[in-house]
Amino acid sequence: MNNQQAPLALEAVGICKSFGPLVANDEVNLQVEKGQIHALLGENGAGKSTLVNILFGLYKADEGEVRVAGEKVEMNSPHDAIEHKIGMVHQHFQLVPVLTVTENIVLGDEPTKKGGVLDFEKAAQEVEALGKRYGLEVDPRAVVEDLPIGYQQRVEILRSLYRQADVLILDEPTAVLTPQETDHLLEVLRSLTAEGVSIIFITHKLREVLAIADKVTVMRRGEVVGATDPKETNEEGLAEMMVGRSVVLRIAKSEATPGNTVLSIKELNVLDDRNQSALKDFSLDVKEGEIFGIAGVEGNGQRELVEAITGLRPLVSGSILMGEKEMSGCSAREISEEGISHIPENREKHGLVGPHSVADNLVLNRYFHSPFAARGIRQTAAINEEASHLVEKFDVRTASIHNPARTLSGGNKQKVIAARELSHDSSLLLAAQPTRGIDVGSIEFIHQQLVNARDAGVAVLLVSAELDEILSLSDRVGVIYQGKLVAVAPTDEFTRIQIGQLMTSGNS
């Protein structure tokens, strides 16, 4: 190393960690300079989370050492990490849902009055002041489970700042945020570095790395494959480092040849979970052989739209036609049998049965049909054969088709769902946030599958909060705003800025 470097805030030296036969980290080195944003880039399963969990004391390294400000330290528990002023914002928030914002933030380090009595007022004031200071305002008395995801993340960040963290580790913080929230977060992180905080920023979104990182370390299959200055590279270069081969970030696709209308929605009215109107006189047509992209900031009725089409949410009024057939009032099973494939937004909750095997999940929409069942008896051999075939065809990385689906990485889970839904004989494919939180390699694969489905004559309805995804895949784009379709046109008639404005204000 040379002498021009800023002092190191945190350093990992020769970290090795195995889980059984799986080597998650192999001789990993990481150097985070003081006051810098250090991006840790890699596909799912590359070992990024393992590394930061070691830095935060949640896992113990088999070999290697962690140095804080140049000194070797023992990290046996998160408590040790906190002692050394390391804070972490977890991918799955580590917040107690039923407690208030303040209680969550001070938990474990509470201001007290005499005899261990919690000084809630003092704590709430501190939380409020902290939020103001860093642009992370949140009501200290709100109960966490009532807050939107973006605000829950603020609570997580504030919790580390409350403990005066010098190093802040953020594990895929933008995966759950809208574009606006992401921009705000990046601003906050910038202002934190100005105060001398060092940040480790885990992501697989290349655009963010280029936008914010001072330095980037790329991991692949448990090893560091390179560390570089983002200014000296570009998206393609980073993607190639990350995946180990050149990656197509924009899928090449031919001109669409739309045919008959497959899905026709007329004057649809649907309520959300709070019984508020979610879709207002919503109408939409999707034709065979086209990808219709629905762009919009999350929470503008997309989820309710998908659930209404798939029969998971009752309609207040309106009609949904598949070809000539009226689907409103049909059960989810009937709708699926009519030829609708569905890649749901929440893959853990609605896409997979986590404890069941990969094989069972792969036939989840067909297990009751021949050849997978005969007279009510499951035909294991046929299921396994189909599963093995799909695992190979869709490149699902799993040790065995009999492993529980929940043990797969996010990208592989999504591949299982895509494999299942695309092998279902269908005329309409509903893909909701199909690439959320998965790595570049898997995104490329899923995108290619959507285009292939289109080319095979399937009508594809793509719902995504990622504007890039909408723009690169869709043949036509509709912008949804407050439950209404405010604009519909072929993709090339929109500019990126126009769609952005439509998404946030309803008019351009």
């Binding site: 938990l107 474990g108 005899g115 009595v117």
Partner: protein, 332 residues
């Protein structure tokens, strides 16, 4: 003023039920002061082991461990407390032994569920079977103690008509149980210990990432809870009955769990629920005194259950248990 009115309106059904119970009690007491007071005093006595058991269950479940071994903890402590008193003639030593025995049983549950990561339902069942078997085996009929824990009058307060007899002329463990309701309510909701306890019962890994030791907190709560169940056991053998009988808890540990759930894992709520159960027991006795329905004893036997079902089905809404109960916690 307005907010007081709103509160009254919001609680109108509770208030009506309360008034109806009071009116019925006076009626059952033949409009005389003594029997009416006796019913209410008996209500408090009957509720004591239930509220203690419920507090034990609450500490365990609030920290994420289901304790269905309360029955066994109570039974074992009742036996140990009685045996120690019979051997030493000291009620103090007996109660202390019961308390210690409960704490040991709590620690045992911790060993099975926290350290060995065993299934919590099975661990609790093990305690119950163990306690029933061991106490039956070691039980020697005919052993006696000289007296029960004495009634203590709280100075002049005990002379207040009705109220004094109900609240201020009780035996020691009953006083302790009332005190514990207040202390545990305050501790759970106002202290750092309570905050941490609730946190590990809802989301243990969240607590662990901010440096709270889940294992330590669970052991602590199981042991304190066990001690409280031990007090309930000592109440049965040394304060209520004055002897030990095989299986004398007779399901009270399980009723205590129901009381805890009806009280929504809140000490004050549990106290209210325990009083309701206690009341149905007391009123049953009064029915026998008055000779009501004695031709059909099965109807008298049904009273507690009918009242419980009606009141609880009608007035207790959906309660949400701590999210993490039943799951052993491992860090990796």
């Amino acid at each position: 003023m307005n907010s007081l009115l709103e509160r009254i309106i919001r609680l109108r059904w509770w208030i009506l039920v309360f008034l109806a119970i009071i009116a019925f009690t006076i009626f059952a007491g033949d409009f005389r002061q003594d029997p009416t007071t006796a019913i209410l005093a008996a209500t408090l006595r009957h509720s004591t082991p239930l509220v203690l058991g419920a507090l034990c269950g609450m500490l365990c479940e609030r920290s994420g461990v289901i304790n269905i071994g309360i029955e066994g903890q109570m039974l074992m402590s009742a036996f140990v407390g009685f045996t120690v008193t019979a051997a030493t003639s000291s009620l103090y030593l007996g109660v202390a032994a019961g308390l210690a025995c409960g704490m040991l049983m709590g620690a045992a549950l911790g060993g099975l569920t926290v350290s060995l990561q065993g299934d919590q339902i099975i661990a609790g069942t093990v305690l119950n079977i163990f306690a029933l078997g061991l106490t039956s085996f070691l039980y020697t009929p005919g052993e006696t103690i000289h007296s029960k824990t004495p009634r203590i009058n709280v100075g002049p307060l005990a002379d207040i008509p009705v109220i004094g007899k109900i609240f201020f002329a009780n035996q020691p463990i009953t006083y302790v149980s009332l005190l514990l309701v207040a202390v545990i309510w305050y501790s759970l909701f106002k202290t750092t210990w309570g905050l941490r306890t609730r946190a590990i019962g809802e989301h243990p890994s969240a607590a662990e990432t901010v440096g709270v030791s889940v294992a330590k907190m669970r052991y602590l709560n199981l042991i304190i809870g066990g001690g409280i169940a031990g007090l309930a056991g000592a109440y049965l053998s040394l304060e209520a009955v004055g002897s030990f009988e095989r299986g004398m808890t007779n399901g009270k540990g399980f009723v205590a769990l129901a009381v805890m759930i009806f009280g929504r894992w809140n000490p004050v709520g549990a106290w209210g629920a325990a009083l309701l159960f206690g009341y149905t027991n007391a009123i049953q006795t009064q029915f026998q005194f008055r000779g009501w329905l004695t031709g059909h004893p099965q109807f008298i036997g049904m009273i507690p259950f009918i009242v419980t079902i009606v009141v609880l089905a009608g007035f207790v809404g959906r309660a949400r248990p701590p999210a993490a109960i039943g799951q052993p916690y491992t860090r990796e």
